[in-house]
Every structure is written in C-alpha cells, then in structure tokens.
C-alpha cells in the first residue's frame, strides 16, 4: 500500500485510540439520559414503588413492636431507620445491577441485532475499550437514577445517614461499581455466544440476586441464619453488589446499627475482597472476550444472518 496514508500503530496512538473509543461509546448513554425525559418516570419514580413496599412493611413491623414494648421504642425505631435506609441504599444499587444485566451483559447481543456489533468488531479499537465505554456510559446514566433514589429516600421516607468516613465510602462505592461492571463485561462476552438464550439468564438473575445479595435487607441477617440461608448469602456475595452494599450500609449507618450484629464482614475487609473481585472480573472479561470473539468469528455469530 505505497500510495496509501501511513497508519500509526505506536503505543501513544493506541492509548489515544482507545480513550477516544471509550468516550465515543459512552456518549450515546450520557446523551440518552438527557434526551429521553420519560426516563425520570420509568427509572426514578417507578423503582420507588418497590422501595416503598419494603419501607411500609418494615415500619408496620416496627410500630407493632413499639406498641407491644413501648420501653424499647428508641432502639426499635433506630433499627427501623437503619432498615429503611438499607432498603433505600439497596434500591439505588438495584439500578446498577439492572443496568449491568440489561445494558451491559445483554448489550452485545442487542448490538448484533441492530447491526452495530460488526462495525465495532471491524474497528481497530481494543474490545475492552468498547466494553469500557459501555460501562462508563452506563455508570453515568445509572448514577443519575441512583442519586434520585437516594434523594427521594431522604425526602420521602425521612432516612437519616451518618457518614463518618467519606473517603472510605467513595472508595467502596467506586470499587463496587468497577467490580459490578467488570462482571457485566464478563457476561457480555458470554452473551455474545449464547445469544437469545442469555435473555432468560438475565431474567433469572433479577429477583434471586435481589434476595441472595441482600438488596432490601442487611445481608448479614441471611448470613447468620445458618443452613441454606448462609449458603445462599455466600453465593450472593460473589455478586459484588452484596458485599458492596454491606460495606456501604456500615459506612452510612454506622457499625453499631442493628447492634452491630447484621454485618457480613468489616468494611475494610469487604473493600479488599471487592478489589480482588474487580481485578478478577476485568481480567476474566478480557480473556473471555478475546476467546469468544475468535469462537464467534469461527461460528459466524458476530453478525446476524440477515446482515
């Protein structure tokens, strides 16, 4: 190709290429959040209903306990606030989990259906930049929903948070997101090969994960229940949201909430495990995607038959 323009392939070019790719792929998600005002209803208002259901149940139980034992009211009401705050935090994390399932894991399958995937795979960018862009865009989009859930929790349900260590809180939140989206990137490459069957898997991973990862109650309670409950909680902890939520609850409610009895592990230990999960999932995603891309190219599954 003598007459053609010489193409760069040095490290600096590659870094620039992949950073641009991340920004490019994140763009539709960032812009999408602003261009579709209907998301406020579907993404912010509707999820409040399920949160409200748990809040009302916990309040009813607490008020019955207070009626039966008025002397112990301050402790019961403090626990109730902690439970309601746990539900609000879980509701915010649900947004991220659903985004990981439906907008990360199944995204490549959907991209294939509309014809984008072949254009992505034909481009010189690193595939991790593609997934990274999806993750960054998804995190941004979902953070808006998560923040609105938190604000609604404080305003509507009167939740009180006590943040003693904001840096630690930020670190746990950030690492939890990286681990969650790392898991999503890993799933994305698996879904590339499984196609439609993967949708059922996503559906399967909604409600059971809400339960086993303790989205609407402190996971430690399930952990300490013994027998199958402990087993489910241990399995649920593999999903980073489980340990992440536990650490976030400790850092926003105080370690002494629930009498300090319902925590799985201490927040620093949970952060360490989350770091390991984050790195592990990212490495797994990198190799799974490379392997499954080759497999998909061999089996002709990168493009739909009609394209």
């Amino acid at each position: 190709m003598t007459a053609a323009v010489a193409r760069r392939s040095d490290l600096r070019f590659r870094i620039g290429l992949n950073l641009r790719s991340i920004v490019g792929r994140a763009y539709p998600r960032v812009i999408g959040a602003n261009r579709e005002p209907s998301w406020i209803f579907f993404e912010a208002v509707l999820p409040l209903l399920s949160i409200a259901a748990y809040v009302f149940i916990y309040r009813t139980i607490a008020l019955n306990q207070v009626a039966a034992n008025p002397v112990d009211a301050p402790r019961i009401l403090a626990n109730m606030n902690a439970l309601v705050a746990s539900v609000v935090l879980g509701g915010a994390m649900v947004a991220f989990w659903l985004n990981v399932l439906w907008s990360m894991a199944s995204q490549l399958y959907w991209e294939k259906e509309i014809g984008n995937l072949q254009l992505y795979m034909m481009a010189p960018m690193n595939r991790m930049a593609l997934l990274g862009g999806m993750a960054v865009g998804g995190m941004f989009m979902t953070s808006v929903r998560a923040v609105s859930t938190l604000v609604a929790g404080v305003v509507v349900f009167g939740v009180v948070f006590q943040v003693a260590n904001p840096l630690m809180l930020l670190a746990v939140f950030f690492v939890t997101l990286v681990a969650l989206y790392g898991l999503g990137m890993f799933f994305a490459s698996l879904y590339l090969l499984w196609g439609r069957e993967a949708w059922n898997l996503s559906a399967l991973m909604e409600e059971p994960i809400f339960f086993s990862s303790g989205f609407y109650f402190p996971l430690g309670g399930l952990y300490q229940s013994g027998g199958w409950g402990s087993a489910v909680a241990v399995l649920g902890s593999i999903i980073p949201a489980g340990l992440g939520l536990d650490a976030l609850r400790q850092l926003t409610l105080g370690e002494t909430a629930f009498g300090g009895k319902f925590w799985v592990l201490s927040a620093p230990v949970e952060l360490e495990i989350l770091v390991v999960l984050a790195v592990g999932f990212l490495i797994l995603a990198r190799y799974a995607l490379a392997y499954l891309e080759t497999l998909a190219k061999r089996e002709g599954k990168l493009t739909s038959r009609h394209q």
Partner: protein
C-alpha cells in the same frame, strides 16, 4: 507490491443447525440442517486503486467474502490478505485501513443525530474530534445530507440513513472500502449520488480501493474497473465489463415478452440455444424470456414452440449482451 486484496483458495463452510433432543424438527427442516458451503475455493487479486465488483445473485457468497476480508469471519480454509496482512493472523493493521458499508444497514442509535452517530463511529478509529467534525460537514454537503445534520436518526428516511452510513464509511479515510450492496432499495437519485461519489473517490486520488458487491448489473457495468462473477461460492469469471461481454460476442441475445408458458423444458434441448432464463412479471401477467443463441437460426423454432402452447408473443428484441447475459450463458438462469 502487494495487492490491496488477495484471496487464495478461500473456502467458508457454515456448520448446519445443531439437533436438540428436546425439539422436534419442523417440516423441511431436516434438509436445511446440513452444512452450507458459502465460498468454495475463491482466488482473487484486487489491485490498489481499483474499483472491483463482485457480481452475483443472492446467496452467491458475496457478503461472506466481504465479512472475511473485514476480519469479521474466519475462513474454513485458504488464505486472505488485505493490504498485505493476513486476515486471520494480523487483523489490527487491516482494521486501521478498511471500512465497510452495507445496504439496508440499521446501525447507529436512533436517539443520536446523524452527525453524532458518524462522529461516534469515527472515534473507534482514533480520528481526532476536530478532524472528524470537519470531515463530516464536508461529506454531508457532498451527499446532500447537510439539512439533516441535526436530525435524530430514527426520524430520517431509509435513503438518508444509507447516505449517513456511506459518510460513516468515508469519514475514517480508509484505503480499502467494502461496499456490500450499497444502493439496495434506494431511489434513483440517492443511488446516483452514492455511485458518483464512490467513482470520484477512487479515481480522484491514488491508493484508494473499493470492493463493491451488487446484484445490479448496470451498477457493476457503470462503476467497476473489473468484475468477478460469483455463483454458489465459486468465481465463474473475472475481467473488465467489456471483456466479460465480449466472451459472448459471438453469441446472440434475444429477449421475448410472452404470455405465461406451461412448458419451457423444450427450449434447452433446441439446437443453437446456449442457455436461457425466464422471469415472471406478475403485474403484467407476462413472462420475459432471455435467450443466448449461437446464431439467429433457432428463433423461428422458439416462436413456434411458444405459439404451439397458445401463448402470444408481445415483444421480441435482439439486444446487446449485458453482464446478466454473461451470467445466463454460464449458469443457465438469471439473477432473480
């Protein structure tokens, strides 16, 4: 100097559908389960700066070949090189140099504007935003899409969408552009805009190569420097459009418009008939017959065979050979 594109004995077989013990096969599904040979020993050389056409009916293997060259599909056997790089072993330098646009493509995001969509794809090639935006504006003027620059993609017509796809293909300034049926389903004006831009792009600068697949004969004839005729995964002929048509210059082409016929099997057995094809025109309730003849002698016999069936001959024309006639003379059927 390496070729822009070279394939050596390239074969691609798609495995058949897997059988599952829990699912009962549908009627006729058994026959469609087997492996499909989409490409069968294809060897091609495309020179740098060439506008090369791949002409064949639907299912001939055109898209499969492009997807292998675009590093989206692995060959079952054989080798393929793009810009001197092996598509299986060294895809990165290939991906930097190529782009692909397919007809009827629905890529991009409906929520973004046409400009944003093109910009997004340019980022995956590392084109700096400033450069990308300037190129997009220039190309939008060239393709007559300027007034739709800020329109959301979900709100534009399919012709405008295809122009946007074409701009996406050019904005990264590829050395080799794969165009897979780029004018499929477009109106005359949109198709002409695209054809003219592609021809000017290749001929107006050195080092740019286009591989165009199409089943529109006139398009291939008008645009391409050389054409390969492909059918059932095999290359039947490869030459300039003039030379391909010259292959049957000693033969005579006749087109007839007749009432629908009951029996056409006798035509092939007639002396002097090289090949023929028929195409039903349901709107007129007529059949168009194309005969490739060694000479004009069998015409009388053909006419009497038609009238013997009680059918009327509405038109009879002797025509200059077209690329479709070349195809008919080789495989005994038209493209549709």
């Amino acid at each position: 100097m390496p070729y822009a594109v070279e394939t050596r004995d390239l074969t691609r077989v798609f495995a058949g559908k897997k059988k599952h013990w829990w699912r009962k096969p549908k009627p006729n599904e058994e026959e469609s389960r087997g492996p499909v040979t989409a490409l069968d020993g294809v060897s091609l050389q495309i020179h740098e700066g060439e506008l090369f056409g791949l002409l064949g009916p639907n299912g001939a293997g055109k898209t499969t070949l492009i997807k292998i060259l675009a590093t989206l599909l692995l060959p079952t056997s054989g080798m393929a090189f793009v810009a001197g790089n092996d598509v299986t072993k060294d895809p990165f330098p290939i991906r930097q140099r190529i782009n692909m646009v397919s007809g009827g493509e629905t890529s991009g995001y409906g929520l973004l504007t046409t400009r944003e969509n093109i910009w997004m794809f340019s980022q995956f090639y590392g084109v700096p935003s400033k450069v990308s935006k300037a190129r997009i504006d220039e190309l939008m003027h060239a393709f007559g899409l300027w007034d739709k620059r800020d329109a959301k993609v979900r709100l534009i017509s399919s012709g405008q969408r295809q122009k946007m796809n074409m701009i996406r293909g050019f904005v990264t300034e590829p050395d080799i552009l794969f165009l897979d049926e780029p004018t499929l389903g477009l109106d005359v004006n949109a198709a002409r805009t695209i054809r003219e831009y592609v021809m000017n792009w290749v001929r107006g600068q050195s080092g740019k190569t286009v591989l165009l697949t199409t089943h529109y004969m006139a398009e291939a004839d008008e645009m391409c420097d050389r054409i390969a005729i492909i059918d059932k995964g095999k290359i039947l002929a490869c030459d300039t459009p003039e030379n391909l048509k010259r292959m049957i210059h000693t033969q005579t082409t006749f087109r007839l418009e007749v009432d629908p016929l009951q029996d056409t099997s006798t035509f092939q057995r007639m002396d002097g008939v090289v090949n023929f094809s028929l195409r039903d025109d349901a709107s007129k309730n007529r059949t168009e017959l194309t005969f490739i003849l060694e000479n004009e002698a069998p015409v009388a016999e053909i006419l009497s065979a038609i009238t013997a069936q009680g059918a009327k001959v509405h038109a009879l024309r002797k025509t200059e050979p077209t690329l479709e006639d070349v195809f008919i003379s080789m495989v005994g059927r038209g493209f549709e």
